[in-house]
Structure formats: structure tokens, C-alpha cells
Amino acid sequence: MSNSDPLKCDLLVIGRGMAGMASALFAVNRGLSTVQVGMTGEIVFASGLLDLMGVHPIEEKKVWQDPWAAIDSVVGDLPGHPYAHLTQDDIRASFDEVLSFLEKEGLTYCREENYNSRMINPLGKTKTTYCVPGSMWGGVKALQKKSPCLIAGFRGLGDFSARQIVETLQHQWSDLRAAQIPFPDTDHVNELFTGDILAQSLELSINRKKLIESLRKHREDAEVIGLPAVLGMHHVGEIISEMEEEIGVPVFEIPTPPVSVPGLRLNDAFVRGLSAKGVKHFPQSQVVKVHREKAEEFVAIIGHKPAQHTILTKGIILASGRFWGRGLYADRHRIRETIFDLPVYQPENRDKWHADDLLDPGGHPVNQAGVETDHLFRPLDSSGKPLFRTLFAAGSILAHQDWMRMKCGSGVAITSAYGAVKASLQLE
């Protein structure tokens, strides 16, 4: 046991994905002493785009321009959806708070407050989303105007083909051109690079100079240039400004499949900013056991000996994610919640988990499985009552939402975190 054990706090946040990060932010901003624990979350795989609500009903593939109307519609049709526990004011306030925090951490986000935006993705499809990293905003504008545009990929960045994007989009955007250029100083290497390595190397000005040089040659009559999202790890804003100045046209980033640099940037910004605000982190460690000490307190054991810690907390937000985050785990017969063994809403057997087609428009029933809560985001027992007064759940572990099809992943994470923190203050 370490010296400070047991560590006392107001709120323990379990999870380091978007919902965990947002929970810790809202809690610490409201003066709660906050501890956050968990493995690096799915956030590092995130594209960087923050979806609020895009598609409903999913089986009709109905895409909404207005996310607020989409939320009203989904709540009307699916009263169990996490958005049903929130007011529009709460949703707006939660996004404002996260975006201004990220802005201070050097990650600017852009949006049309009342509308969704469209951004191109690496398959050459256009994706509906809500908040777009500042580095990608030029792409939203260029797509709207169909400006003459050069999309350049790097030889060696295997998951991104400029030619694929251009060929696929050409029927709706004729002034689009592709180039594949070597990444500075990689001619001799016969390997594929992941985005993070390229992003790190563009933090060096010598590499940027060479890249700018070759983009100048390829620019021709393009009025805007799109590149894979690897334009620096920590200084993306400055790097893009420098490139725009030297090349003379706007430059924007396009999201890539993982490893996703914008996801890493988000993770860095949260980790940095939350520590500065005094959130205590136990990164790369798991909650191994939780029990109740007195009526109003939880004791959580974190990590394994000898690096084990005991935490005494008044409340817990469970933001441990789904299968991938390991908040849920399935054996051949049933889906469990991994820390409290909370009741999990789920289809009656494995045969009903998945549809016959991966891309079935209706989505897979297993994706609607998860933890059901009351309006204060408290997990319910089998009789429909909150299990504990101060245990909350937030993010993708929540039942009755299919974030991948509804395009509401970040939205559900951020807003349910907000709802959970607000509830915990209310109950104090």
C-alpha cells in the first residue's frame, strides 16, 4: 500500500474514453475532488470529429441536417435513449464547456451551432457530423463550395489514398485532383508508417519545409489543399497556418483510419488539461474491486499489488465503455457488466445479437445492449430502482443507443457525463 492510501475523493471516474474525460472535466470544474482511473480509452481511435446526432431512424438511413430536431425525434421514438434524460439546454451547455476547455488546450473546434456539417472521409464518402477540428474545417467549406481542390496523400501512409477519395467523389465534385507525394526523407524506407510517426516528424521545421516545397509544385490551380490528418501532433494550428502562408492557399486535414492523430491530440489535450485542473489520474490501471463501506461511501481497489491503491469515494461515474473498452464482456451465453455485475439490458440469446448482414440498415441488436438508468443516470436493478444512490453511468455503456449508426457517439458521451455530474451534485 502506498502512503496516501486510502485516497479520499468526491467522485471516482472509471474510464478514460470521451465519457470519462468529459465526466472528469465537468466534475473538477464544479469543485469536486476527482480521481480518474482506466486504460487509455477508445478516444485515441476517435476520428476527431464530434458527432451529436445524425441518423434516425437508422433502418431508414435518414440523415438529419438539424441535430436538435434529430434528438427530439429519437427521444420521441426511443424513450430509453440516453438523450431522453437530458434537456436541450444541458446538451448545449455540455458541448460549450468541452469545446471551450479544448480551445484553451490548443484544440480549436468549429461548428454551425444549429446544424450538422459534412466532411469527407477516407473512403471518399461524405460524413455528417457536428463539431469539426479547426484543422478540418477548411474541408467542410471546400466541400460546400466544391472549390478547385488538390488532395494529396503520402506514399507510405497505407490507409489513405488521395486517388481513392478523388475517384469516389468525382461525380459530385469535379474540380478535385489527387497526388501521391513522398513524405519528406522516407524515400529509402520500404515500410508503411502510422499517422503518429508522420505527425511527430512534421513537428520539425525542416520536414515541414520539404513538404511545403513539394506541395507547391503540385498545387497548380488548386484553391485549397486537403491532406491526411497528420499535420503535427502538438502544434497543428500553427503548422497549418505556416503551410497556408507559404503555399498561399487554405490547407485542411482529412480524418484517417486508426492510428488517428486527431484522436491522440484529443487524448493529450484532456490528459494535460485535466491534470492541470487537479484531477488525479491512475492511467493504465483498472478497478479490480469495489465495495460499500458505509451507506454513503464506496471503496475501490485499483491495480494489482504492489502498485495497488485504495480509494474512498462518495460517488462513482462508470464510463468504462462497451466491449472494446471492457466495460461489457460477453461469453457464449450472456453479456455482463465487468465491475459491478450490473444488470445489462440485452437480447435474449446470442442468436439475436447480430443481424445477418454486417451493414444491415437496422443495425445489430447487441449494439442497443447496455446499462439502463433513471433520469439521473443511475443504473437500475431488476425492479427498476437505482442500485446505489451515487453510482452513475455515462457514455457508450448506456443501453438503447447505437452510436455507430445514429452518429451520436461523442454526443452521448459528453452529454451523459454532464447529466451524471449534475445529478451527483444535486444528490449531495
Binding site: 477508445e42 481511435f45 476520428s47 470529429l49 441518423v55 438511413k61 440523415v63 472521409n121 477516407p122 473512403l123 471518399g124 464518402k125 460524413k127 455528417t128 496523400g153 507510405g156 497505407g158 490507409d159 489513405f160 489514398s161 486517388r163 481513392q164 475517384e167 469516389t168 468525382q170 461525380h171 501521391q180 520500404n190 515500410e191 508503411l192 480524418p255 483510419p257 486508426p258 462497451r322 466491449f323 472494446w324 471492457r326 464482456y329 460477453a330 461469453d331 457464449r332 440469446n349 446470442r350 442468436d351 445479437w353 447480430h354 445477418d356 448482414d357 454486417l358 451493414l359 444491415d360 440498415p361 445489430h364 447487441v366 449494439n367 452510436w403 455507430m404 449508426r405 452518429k407 457517439g409
Partner: protein, 516 residues
């Protein structure tokens, strides 16, 4: 387009059809082989890959048992590159039928099938994973055979000797003359184009579809369809083929192949041949049954399940399942009034060569060709066309070729750019449009743990950059490829593999909006 003409038209590009094409080509007979889908689209791509020693059939089908023994020995000599000579182990556990166990070695020796009893200790030493409840163990000569390599090599040699392969070409009707078929109507599934092929002889080697084809000539054949399902584990789980020592039943066999193992099988009657897929109860049955022999299988990770259909030929007289033979049948339709039409169906992968020989003998007799069968003595030339289907080969080659290494496009199976180039080149030589599905069918692409998550986008990007994909073809290609993977994934999604699929869906639906 001008009409085609050939001496022999073979229907069906499975082990039997491709084996027959090679056999005939070696006798100097030119043929056209038509396959409605891709090579091994039927049972030849949906089986266990077990090179039978014959031991499994000693109690209920001694003829098959002896055929298997002879043929397996021949293939070991003539086509060693298609075979992994793992050896077999028959094991019984507490509760298994003692009489059957006692009879087993006697029956084996009666039919000349080598077996050797071993002690408990030796069994555990050889296969540490087997159950503590072991009560009897016998070494046998079973092995693993790669059916894709086998068919691709058979085909390659037939083509090199002047035969033609038409893929995605379906036989849809016959042009009848007096007592014979004059020509065959075929439809190209890709182009929608119909053609007429003039023929001397037609061989129906369409496996489970044999009755459908015969019906086109108004000839009834009674066939029952028995679906069998199999599971592929993420890792290799035994050194030898492990076979439950009991009367053949569901979930009896574990076959290793390269870096994985295959578990099977089931026997479920089906009425239709399209969209045959494994079900969750079948998957659970296989895991539970084989788990009694190798308990670790209950906790193992699986990457796929798939199914094949066995055609069970019903004798005309008897109507019940017991009269159904698992051996093969050659129908000379001269007896039905068509002198140049022959059907071959049933049998096993292990006996495909013998089946091909029997039909080729008959067809040559009809053609008046007297050259003898050469597949009995002629080794495979090893055209290496099938080589990229072998688990683990691509990574071994990649590791060896230090200096000239190319970037890896499929990380699970370590497939570099130059292997993809090689496969695309071969596909083009076969006059087929390169697609992700076709590349995957000829390699290990998408067959590893991630089941196409990474290589799906990566190979697509690469094929665009190489100028092979155009316009928005990539979208349809990825969908088709993922769909094919999904058929095999749906029933095995729990534990780690469910987590993996979550990632796949997050990428393709969450970010890439492929479902919209």
C-alpha cells in the same frame, strides 16, 4: 461473340472438376471447365481439410475407408505441397462406447489401415491439451490437406496443357439432339452475357448441384443435402488431427492447418443450396462436443465459422437415411438415353483423384481415346498458383526477403504489396476482374484475427493507387469483401472476437459511414 467449342465440357470448379480437367488434359483431351462462382465455391471450399486415413469409416463404410487409405498415400507422394503430414490421434474419453473402442483396432487391421495404440502418458506427451478423462488413444495416418491449393494446382496444370477455365459462368440449359446433348447454354454472371458451347461430351461434376444440372436434361437424380459446419480457431490447438474414437457423429474432429485449427462438424438436412450458413446452435454444439476431448476449446478464440453441403446420393429403392451412401457415384446417362452425358458426385476430397480417374476412363472410352490415366504416377508440377493460400507462408517469405521487403498490407497474415501484385497479376491472367473478394479467395487476406478490418481499407487504397480500382468501385468492393467475412463471423462473436468486431464496426460504420 463467337461461339465456343470443346471436346469435353466439365461443369463445376471444385476438387472433382479441376481434378478431372487435369486428368483429361494429361491424356491429351482438351476441355472447358465452367464454374458459376469462384474456384472451390462449393463443398471443396467448405470442408474440413482432413486427408482421411480411412480410420473414421472402418465401422460404417469400409469401401470408403479403403479408398481413403489408398488415395491418401498416393497424394502424399504426388502432391506433398498440398499436404501437412500431421498424423492422427483417435481418442476416447470416459463415457464413450467401450465396444466401439474394442472393435476399432480389429476393424482397422481388417481393412489394412495402420493404427497403433499408445499409453495415456504418451498421448498427453504428444497432445498436452487432451482431456484427463482419456481412456484410449491410437495413432493413425490422418493428415491435413489444403483444398484451395489442390484445386488451383490441378487447374493450373490443365490450363498449361491447353484447357480453358471460365469463372462466374453458369450452365443454364442444354441444346438436345437425338440421344445426345449438342451444346450447352451458359450465362456469364458478371456480364449477363449468354453463350452456347458446342461439345462432344458433358461431365456434370457439380457436387451438391448435380441433381439440378441433371434436371436440365430431364434426368432425375435423388440427392439429399446435408449441411456441415466448421469453426476456425485463432491459433493452432493441436499438433495432430484429433478424432473422437466413437461412431462418426457431430463435433468429432479437430484438424490443424498451418497456424490455425479447424473444428467440426455437424450434419443438418437442408432443402436449398443457396445461402448455406452456419448457425449458432451448430457452433455451440461443436465447441461443447469437442470440448469434451480437448477442454481448452471451450475457452479458445475463434475467428470464423463456415459451412459446406454434402450431397448424399439416395439409391432408387430405399427411402431412408441409412441407405444413403457417403461414397461417390458415377452415372453414365447413356442408360437414361443420353450417350454423351455423365454425372459424378459425392465422395470426399481425399478421393477426388480416384473419382476423376473413373469418370475420365468413361469419357475417354466414349471419345475413343485410349491413353491411360497419368494422375496415378505423375507428380504435381507445382505451378505455385495456389501458394498464397497457405497459412503462414506469406510471413515466412517476407521474413526471408530482408532486403527487398515491401510494405505489409495485411498485418494479421503479413501480406506485403508484392504478394498482392502477384495475385492481381494471376487474376488478370485468368481473365477475371480483380476484386477484393477474388484477392482474398487466393490468399490469406482477411483471414486473421482482425477479419478484414485493417486490410479492407488498406488493400483498397493500394489498388486505387495502382490504378486497378476506378470511380467508386472501392465502396462496392469493400462491402462485398466485408459481407463475405461477416458470413463467417456472425456465429462466433463472443469474448475477444466480439471486441474485435466492435472495432471493425466502429471503423466502417462509425467513421466511414459505409452502411449509409
Amino acid at each position: 461473340m463467337s461461339d465456343l467449342e470443346t471436346q469435353v465440357l466439365i461443369i463445376g470448379g471444385g476438387a472433382t472438376g479441376t481434378g478431372l480437367a487435369r486428368d483429361l488434359a494429361l491424356r491429351g483431351v482438351q476441355c472447358i471447365l465452367v464454374e458459376m462462382e469462384d474456384i472451390n465455391a462449393g463443398a471443396s471450399g467448405g470442408n474440413h481439410g482432413l486427408l482421411h486415413s480411412g480410420a473414421r469409416y472402418v465401422s460404417n463404410d469400409p469401401i470408403s475407408a479403403q479408398e481413403c487409405r489408398l488415395e491418401a498415400n498416393l497424394l502424399r507422394q504426388l502432391a506433398p505441397e498440398c499436404i501437412e503430414d500431421t498424423g492422427g490421434l483417435f481418442v476416447a474419453v470416459e463415457g464413450d462406447d467401450e465396444n466401439y473402442i474394442a472393435d476399432f483396432p480389429l476393424l482397422c487391421s481388417k481393412y489394412g489401415i495402420p493404427v497403433q495404440e499408445i499409453s495415456r502418458d504418451e498421448a498427453f506427451e504428444r497432445e498436452p491439451g487432451i482431456s484427463e478423462k482419456l481412456i484410449a488413444a491410437y495413432l493413425t495416418e490422418d493428415g491435413a490437406i489444403d483444398p484451395f491449393k489442390l484445386s488451383l494446382e490441378n487447374l493450373a496444370q490443365a490450363q498449361s496443357l491447353g484447357s480453358t477455365f471460365l469463372q462466374h459462368v453458369k450452365v443454364i440449359g442444354f441444346e438436345m439432339g437425338k440421344n445426345r446433348i449438342e451444346a450447352v447454354h451458359v450465362l456469364n454472371a458478371e456480364s449477363g452475357q449468354e453463350r452456347l458451347i458446342k461439345i462432344d461430351q458433358v461431365v456434370n461434376a457439380s457436387g451438391a448441384w448435380a441433381a439440378e444440372i441433371a434436371a436440365l436434361a430431364n434426368i432425375p437424380i435423388n440427392i439429399l443435402y446435408s449441411k456441415g459446419s466448421l469453426l476456425v480457431s485463432a491459433y493452432r490447438l493441436s499438433q495432430r488431427v484429433i478424432n473422437r474414437l466413437r461412431p462418426p457423429s457431430d463435433g468429432d474432429i479437430l484438424v490443424p492447418g498451418g497456424t490455425v485449427s479447424i473444428l467440426g462438424t455437424t450434419s443438418v438436412r437442408v432443402d436449398l443450396l443457396d445461402d448455406v450458413r452456419p448457425t449458432i446452435p451448430e457452433v455451440d454444439l461443436i465447441v461443447d462436443e469437442l470440448g469434451e476431448v480437448v477442454p481448452g476449446l471451450r475457452e479458445a478464440r475463434y475467428v470464423r465459422a463456415y459451412s459446406g453441403v454434402r450431397p448424399l446420393i439416395q439409391s432408387q429403392e430405399a427411402g431412408d437415411d441409412r441407405a444413403v451412401s457417403r461414397g461417390f457415384a458415377v452415372f453414365d446417362h447413356t442408360h437414361d438415353g443420353l450417350e454423351n452425358f455423365t454425372t459424378i458426385t459425392g465422395g470426399k476430397l481425399t478421393t477426388y483423384r480416384l473419382m476423376a480417374e473413373k469418370v475420365a476412363d468413361l469419357v475417354c472410352e466414349k471419345l475413343g481415346v485410349s491413353s491411360p490415366c497419368l494422375t496415378l504416377t505423375e507428380p504435381f508440377p507445382s505451378a505455385k498458383k495456389g501458394k498464397w493460400t497457405e497459412p503462414g507462408l506469406s510471413s515466412r517469405v517476407w521474413l526471408k526477403e530482408h532486403a527487398s521487403r515491401k510494405p505489409i498490407l495485411c498485418e494479421c497474415e503479413m501480406i506485403p504489396e508484392n504478394v498482392i501484385d502477384d495475385i492481381v497479376g494471376n487474376i488478370r491472367k485468368e481473365n477475371i476482374t480483380p476484386s477484393l473478394k477474388a484477392v482474398a479467395a487466393r490468399s490469406r487476406m482477411g483471414k486473421g484475427l482482425c477479419q478484414g478490418t485493417v486490410c479492407g481499407t488498406r488493400v483498397t487504397s493500394y489498388l486505387y493507387e495502382q490504378g486497378i480500382f476506378h470511380s467508386d468501385q472501392g465502396l462496392a468492393n469493400i462491402k462485398e469483401f466485408l459481407d463475405e467475412r461477416w458470413k463467417g463471423e456472425r456465429t462466433i462473436l463472443w469474448g475477444e472476437q466480439l471486441i474485435q468486431t466492435g472495432f471493425k464496426e466502429a471503423l466502417y460504420c462509425g467513421l466511414l459511414d459505409l452502411e449509409l
